[in-house]
Symmetry: C2
């Protein structure tokens, strides 16, 4: 079984795979073209994938047959597995546990060459609903602490297959990047008695210079101190800690803003590689009172990071990133297209 190990210095967990890859098995350039031929994610090949977990499909069609709009599958090579106990244990001065969790593949479109944002708003809304439903379902498992929805587009962004896909990774620990956001938002709330994200929204609306797009319920903006050039956040105006609290109206509106912003980004940067991921509150733990203020100090959002700059020893050694385009200029380019 794969295992999770805790970095004793940074408190960051890493997943160590049980079947160690040999040195010769690493590709010379780790950014191969994604696999294209024989795509089992295309409509009509449902019997060649693992059995679907759930799907959004046309009335009257059966699971694992054609006629679906969005399909959710278990991962072919999961790093995190549902079966088993957490098995937390010490090893000398270090800590490890079993790699309990879930990996799922959300097939965003029945068509190999058609992204959901190019299929129209209805398809985007289905996708958002699937994200919400999968998080809602998995957060019932009390062994799991966090559910991450993420997308890889383009080979420099780690895309493995050319079919449009989103991935889901459920982990028994709160990942480091999320924990940093939670801890700092909590600290800000303790000092200001206000949500840091609500303050950011107000500041962005006040100046307007980093706003990319607005809808009734959401704003999209380039963060003041983004990590990557042309980075965009989409955040609900309404204070809400968890993506699973999204309303029907907000679901439709989120589909609209995500579709619009992805199209803008693809147009401005000419189909760049990018990732996006949702940061939402971690799962409740049984001793609920420990988390009872969580709703006050966190605010879910989606982050889009274009992968158009290389990272060198400077970024990895320091965590200090360099933005060749200012967020104000990036937002201006993004506002003006489409």
């Amino acid at each position: 079984m794969h295992e999770l190990r805790k970095d004793i210095l940074l408190g960051r967990w890493v997943a160590v795979l049980s079947e160690s890859k040999l040195p010769s098995e690493y590709p010379k350039i780790p950014f191969e073209e994604p696999v294209e031929e024989n795509c089992v994610f295309c409509e009509g090949r449902e019997n060649e994938t693992p059995s679907e977990i759930t799907s959004i499909r046309k009335a009257g069609t059966s699971p694992n047959t054609a006629g679906w709009w969005i399909r959710d599958l278990p991962s072919f090579n999961p790093v995190f597995r549902v079966e088993g106990e957490l098995g937390r244990r010490g090893v000398g001065i270090y800590d490890k546990m079993n790699s309990i969790g879930a990996n799922e593949i959300i097939v965003e479109s029945p068509y190999h060459d058609k992204r959901p944002e190019d299929m129209g708003l209805e398809q985007m809304i289905r996708l958002v609903k699937m994200y919400r439903d999968r998080i809602s379902d998995l957060e019932k498992d009390t062994r799991l602490r966090y559910i991450l929805i993420y997308k890889d587009s383009g080979r420099c962004a780690g895309q493995q297959y050319t079919h449009p896909l989103t991935f889901l990774m459920a982990t028994p620990v709160i990942p480091k990047v999320v924990k940093d956001e939670l801890d700092n938002a909590k600290q800000y709330f303790a000092y200001k008695e206000r949500c840091i994200f609500c303050d950011i929204i107000n500041e962005e609306l006040r100046t307007g210079e980093r706003i990319v797009y607005e809808t009734k319920n959401f704003i999209a903006f380039c963060p003041f101190a983004a990590q990557f050039p042309f980075e965009i956040w989409i955040i609900p105006r309404r204070h809400s800690c968890s993506f699973t609290e999204i309303t029907v109206e907000e679901t439709e509106d989120f589909g609209l803003i995500l579709m619009t912003v992805l199209k803008k980004l693809r147009q401005v940067l000419n189909e760049p590689p990018f990732n996006y991921f949702i940061h939402t509150a971690p799962n409740m733990v049984p001793r609920r009172n420990h988390w009872h203020t969580l709703g006050e100090d966190f605010h879910w959002h989606l982050e889009i990071i274009p992968r158009i700059i290389r990272t060198s020893g400077f970024e990895w050694g320091s965590g200090l990133y360099i933005l060749p385009t200012s967020p104000e200029n990036a937002a201006k380019f993004l506002r003006e297209v489409g």
Copy 2:
């Protein structure tokens, strides 16, 4: 002037360049081949570079002429500049400051095709001495809080030129990755009254299974919860917070272990792209008593990260990395070659 902006949520600084790059100026794949032709770093072309800051050279030769072993130059396009004031200021709810600091290029070899580790121990010792001397010199500037020495080897590791180079970046802030190490080491020391790095060294020597190489004064090992497969740390056995405290004997020994480990890594992974960087204590600030325990709770080291895996939305969204090769297996491969 370029500016530094603070991420209000994560406390991480980013550098925003003053001349914003246009969307069309980003390359389609951000990992171009390094520039090869017309290399001004080669011996004999000293008059085509900015004037050298310092060099280690043959007796009787003059600055900015041939006859050098290691040469230190100002960066051609510095992100951080020496001139000016810090200018810390608030902008709405956010923070920014001027991009004060220094960027230097350490030319590791007079020969375009010969890396210092292939030139023998004498050259490696000269390189280590140059690292020490540059940090010692720059830490006198009280506006600077941190000096990062780092190397990029191979285009997937961000290498810009094919000539063997190390870079130096001096910043007016303690970068996020370093600050995390410092904070956690301090917290560990407060609880255990022991240095976390000394504890790691003892644990690694006790089990031995992740040790790559040992010398009289240093050990090299694959960390228990490494971020990257085949990641290697080199750390002095003697407790010492700052790289500038390295003794003459340790300088020679550090040259030896760095040379050996780089050759092992290049052999096992067949010339992989990699970065390395030194993590040392930040510069003293004028109110020294604030830092008086720093020597107890930090321990300098060098980290080598092979860039042989792609990073996807999972890693960027979570900070949770996946190791396809366990550190024990990686160390075994590295021990057995050479």
